[in-house]
C-alpha cells in the first residue's frame, strides 16, 4: 500500500487581524480528520514548522501594506499551486482600507510621533500584485468555505463558491425582508452570499462584510437608500467599509 501524499497547505498572515486564521481553527470538528489528508507546512500562529517551498494550497490572510509583504507575496506566488486570497483584507483591504482615502503621512502622524521608521503604504488586496486562483470573501469567510477550498483541491475540481447575493440565503431562512418591509438600510442586495444571512436573521441590516456579489449594481440600492432618507455622508460610509476599494463599490464610495 503506497502512502498517500498529503496536500501541502500554508497559512500566511499579512496586514490583518488574524480573524480568518481563527475561523480556520474554528474547524474544531474537522481539524483532526483534515490532518489525515493535508499537512500544514507553514502556519505560524499554530505551530513551529515553517517551510518555504512548494505549497499546494496557500491561504493568505490580510492585505499588502509594506515593502516586505510585497516582496513576500511574489515569492509565495512563485511556489504556490493554488493561491487563495483568504478573506476581505486579502481581496479588497476590508475595514483598514478606509484609511486609503486619507493622506498616508497624515494617517501616520495621528498615530505615531516619530514617523521616520514607518514603512507602510496604501493597502491593497493581494491580486493588485500577483494573480490569485481563488477568493474566499467574508470578514471572516465562513469555515464551510475553507472546507470547500480544501475539499475541491483534494478532489481536483473547481470549488463551488456562492457568487449570488445574500438575499437568496435570507429568503431560504424565510426572513421578512428588512429593507422592503422595515425600511432598514440593508446591504444584502449587493452583498455576496456565504454567511447564511446572519444579520437579517438577528433582526438587523446586513453591513456588507462579504463584499460585492458578482455583477453587483450598487446604484439602484444607493437610490433606494436615499429615498429612505440616508444622508450623503452616511451613504459614503456605508459603501466605504468592507469593500470601498472594490471595482463594484468604488464609485459610490467616493473614488
Amino acid at each position: 500500500m503506497s502512502t498517500e501524499k498529503k496536500l501541502r497547505v500554508a497559512v500566511y498572515k499579512f496586514t490583518g487581524c488574524a480573524g480568518c486564521q481563527m475561523e480556520f481553527l474554528r474547524l474544531e470538528d474537522e481539524l483532526l480528520d483534515l490532518t489525515k489528508k493535508i499537512e500544514f507546512v507553514y502556519f505560524m500562529m499554530a505551530q513551529n514548522r515553517d517551510e518555504f517551498e512548494r505549497y499546494d494550497l496557500c491561504f493568505v490572510e490580510g492585505s499588502v501594506s509594506t515593502p516586505r509583504e510585497l516582496q513576500e507575496i511574489k515569492m509565495i506566488r512563485a511556489q504556490t499551486k493554488t493561491l487563495i486570497a483568504f478573506g476581505d483584507c486579502a481581496i479588497t483591504g476590508c475595514v483598514p482600507s478606509i484609511r486609503n482615502w486619507l493622506s498616508q503621512s497624515d494617517v501616520e502622524k495621528v498615530v505615531y510621533k516619530d514617523i521616520t521608521p514607518i514603512r507602510s503604504f496604501r493597502l491593497a488586496g493581494i491580486e493588485e500584485y500577483v494573480p490569485v486562483d481563488l477568493k474566499l470573501s467574508g470578514c471572516p469567510p465562513h469555515k464551510d468555505m475553507i472546507l470547500e477550498a480544501i475539499g475541491s483541491s483534494l478532489l481536483g475540481i473547481r470549488p463551488d463558491l456562492r457568487m449570488h447575493s445574500i438575499c437568496m440565503e435570507c429568503k431560504l431562512k424565510e426572513n421578512v425582508c428588512i429593507l422592503t418591509s422595515l425600511s432598514k438600510l440593508c446591504m444584502g442586495p449587493v452583498t455576496r452570499a456565504g454567511c447564511g444571512a446572519i444579520c437579517p436573521t438577528y433582526g438587523r441590516e446586513c453591513e456588507g462584510c462579504y463584499g460585492p456579489m458578482s455583477d453587483a449594481n450598487p446604484f439602484p440600492l444607493a437610490s433606494e437608500f436615499r429615498r429612505l432618507g440616508i444622508t450623503a455622508d452616511d451613504l459614503v460610509r456605508k459603501f466605504r467599509k468592507y469593500a470601498g476599494t472594490s471595482k463594484e463599490f468604488r464609485e459610490v464610495s467616493g473614488i
Binding site: 481563527m22 500562529m45 486619507l102 438577528y202
Partner: protein, 434 residues
C-alpha cells in the same frame, strides 16, 4: 524569506534572536543579550504592519465604532466590541438594561473560554509536552486535544448564540442587542457547559504537571475590579500598589512611549512597567472567584500573591473554570424579556467617553470624542499587549541570566516566556498620540 520570516534563532549562549516567534498571534520577535557580568538587555520587537485604526476612525459614526474596532483583532473581537460599545455609551450617556449587561458578560466569558483554551492547548502545551503543535500532540494525547477542541468549540458556540457570530459578532449594538437568544438554545448550551465543567479537572491536572520557570521579580499587578463580581466588562482601575481609580481617569495614570525598534508602544504607570492579564486578575480579584475556581487554583499550586508571568498559564486554567461556572449561573438566573430593543442613543452635543474592560490577555482601553452629530473626532485605544510589552522585556531580562546559569536552552526559554503572556500582536499595533 526564511531569514526574515522564519525562526532564525542563534544562540551562542549569550545572545538570542528570534525573528518571528511561532505560536503567538501576529508578527513579532525577541532580541535578548546577556553581558559577561550577567546583566541582560531585551527587546520585544513587533514588525506586524500598522493599520492606523485611530486615524481612520475619525469621521466614522458612533454606531459603527464597535463594528470597526472589532477588526483590530480576530482573537479578541468581542473584547474590542464590548469596550467600544461602553465607551460610546458613556459618551452619549446611554444606560443599558440589566439584561444587556448580563448578555454582554456572557459574550465576554465565551471569548475567555475560547481564547484561553486556544492559548493553553494550541500555543502553550506544545512547549511543555515537547511538540511543535497541538496537531502533533494529538498523535500521543488524543483525548486531551479532543477535549480542547470541544471546549474551544463550546466557547465559540456560546459566542455565536449570543452574538450571531463567534468571530466579529453582529448582534451587540449601541444600547443593547438586536436579538435575544432563545430559551431552548440557552438550555442546550447549559448542558454542554455542565459536561465540560465535569471534564475540566483533567485540564487542571495536565497544566499542574508541567514545570514552569520561576521569575521572582516583584512587579505591579494591574486589573479592573468591582464589588459585585469578578470584573470582566466593567470596573475601576486597580493595582497591587494601591492604585484605585475610575476608568475615565485612566490617562492620568497610564503613560505611553514609542520605541524605534517596534511598532508597539510601551505603557507605564508612575514610570514603571506593570503586569496585566490572567495572573493579575486572579491576584487582585481572587475573592470573587467561584469555589471550584478557587479549588482549581489550589490544585494547580497557584500561591498568591504571585508575580511570575509564567503563572498566567495556571491563571488561565482557573479562569476557564470560573467562566464555565459563571456562564451557567448567568444563564440559569436570566429572566429574558424578548421584547427588549436596543436603547436609542441621542446625539446633540459634543462629548467624550472612556471604557476599560478585561480582554482575555489583560486590560483594554478605548476612548472616543464625538461631535454633535455623533461623528468620531478623536480615538484612543490601548490594548493588553501594549500594556504588557514593557513587562515582557523586563521579564526577559530577569529570566535570561538565570537560564544561562542553569545551562538551559535560552531561545526556548525566552520564547516560552513570551507565549506565557500570550501576546496578541495585531491588537497592539495601531495606537494614538493625544
Amino acid at each position: 524569506m526564511s531569514k526574515q520570516n522564519g525562526i532564525d534563532a542563534q544562540t551562542d549562549g549569550k545572545k538570542v534572536e528570534v525573528c518571528y516567534v511561532a505560536r503567538v498571534e501576529g508578527q513579532g520577535g525577541i532580541n535578548v543579550e546577556v553581558t559577561s557580568i550577567g546583566e541582560a538587555k531585551a527587546k520585544f520587537k513587533v514588525f506586524e504592519p500598522m493599520r492606523f485604526f485611530e486615524a481612520f476612525l475619525v469621521g466614522r459614526k458612533y454606531n459603527e465604532v464597535h463594528e470597526l474596532t472589532s477588526r483590530i483583532c480576530g482573537i479578541c473581537p468581542i473584547a474590542h466590541q464590548m469596550t467600544a460599545l461602553r465607551a460610546v455609551e458613556n459618551a452619549l450617556k446611554v444606560e443599558v438594561t440589566a439584561q444587556t449587561r448580563a448578555l454582554r458578560r456572557l459574550l465576554s466569558l465565551s471569548a475567555w473560554i475560547q481564547s484561553h483554551t486556544l492559548s493553553l492547548y494550541f500555543l502553550t502545551a506544545p512547549d511543555y509536552l515537547g511538540f511543535g503543535s497541538a496537531i502533533e500532540i494529538a498523535e500521543e494525547h488524543i483525548d486531551a486535544v479532543k477535549q480542547a477542541l470541544r471546549l474551544k468549540k463550546l466557547g465559540n458556540d456560546l459566542g455565536e448564540l449570543i452574538g450571531g457570530r463567534a468571530i466579529h459578532p453582529i448582534s451587540a449594538v449601541v444600547g443593547g442587542f438586536t436579538k435575544t437568544p432563545m430559551k431552548e438554545d440557552l438550555a442546550k448550551i447549559v448542558l454542554r457547559l455542565k459536561r465540560e465543567k465535569e471534564d475540566i479537572w483533567s485540564t487542571v491536572d495536565l497544566f499542574c504537571s508541567f514545570n514552569y520557570p520561576e521569575i521572582d521579580r516583584p512587579t505591579v499587578l494591574v486589573a479592573i475590579s468591582n464589588d459585585k463580581e469578578y470584573a470582566v466588562n466593567e470596573g475601576r482601575l486597580v493595582s497591587s500598589h494601591g492604585l484605585d481609580s475610575p476608568e475615565k481617569e485612566y490617562r492620568i495614570h497610564v503613560q505611553e512611549k514609542e520605541v524605534n525598534y517596534s511598532n508597539t508602544k510601551k505603557s507605564f504607570i508612575n514610570g514603571g512597567d506593570f503586569l496585566s492579564g490572567p495572573i493579575a486578575r486572579v491576584n487582585l480579584n481572587y475573592q470573587k472567584l467561584t469555589p471550584d475556581a478557587k479549588k482549581a487554583a489550589e490544585q494547580l499550586g497557584l500561591h498568591l500573591p504571585s508575580y511570575n508571568p509564567f503563572m498566567n498559564i495556571k491563571a488561565r486554567v482557573v479562569e476557564v473554570v470560573y467562566a464555565l461556572d459563571e456562564a451557567m449561573r448567568i444563564i440559569n438566573t436570566l429572566r429574558l424579556d424578548f421584547s427588549e430593543q436596543p436603547i436609542k442613543a441621542e446625539v446633540g452635543a459634543s462629548c467624550e467617553g472612556a471604557a476599560l474592560t478585561e480582554a482575555p490577555r489583560g486590560i483594554l482601553y478605548h476612548w472616543y470624542k464625538l461631535d454633535s452629530s455623533g461623528i468620531v473626532q478623536k480615538a484612543d485605544i490601548v490594548t493588553p499587549t501594549a500594556h504588557n510589552s514593557a513587562s515582557i522585556e523586563a521579564s526577559l531580562c530577569a529570566l535570561a541570566p538565570k537560564l544561562l546559569k542553569q545551562g538551559q536552552d535560552l531561545t526556548l526559554g525566552c520564547e516560552k516566556l513570551v507565549r506565557a503572556y500570550d501576546p496578541c500582536i495585531s491588537c497592539s499595533v495601531h495606537v494614538l498620540r493625544l
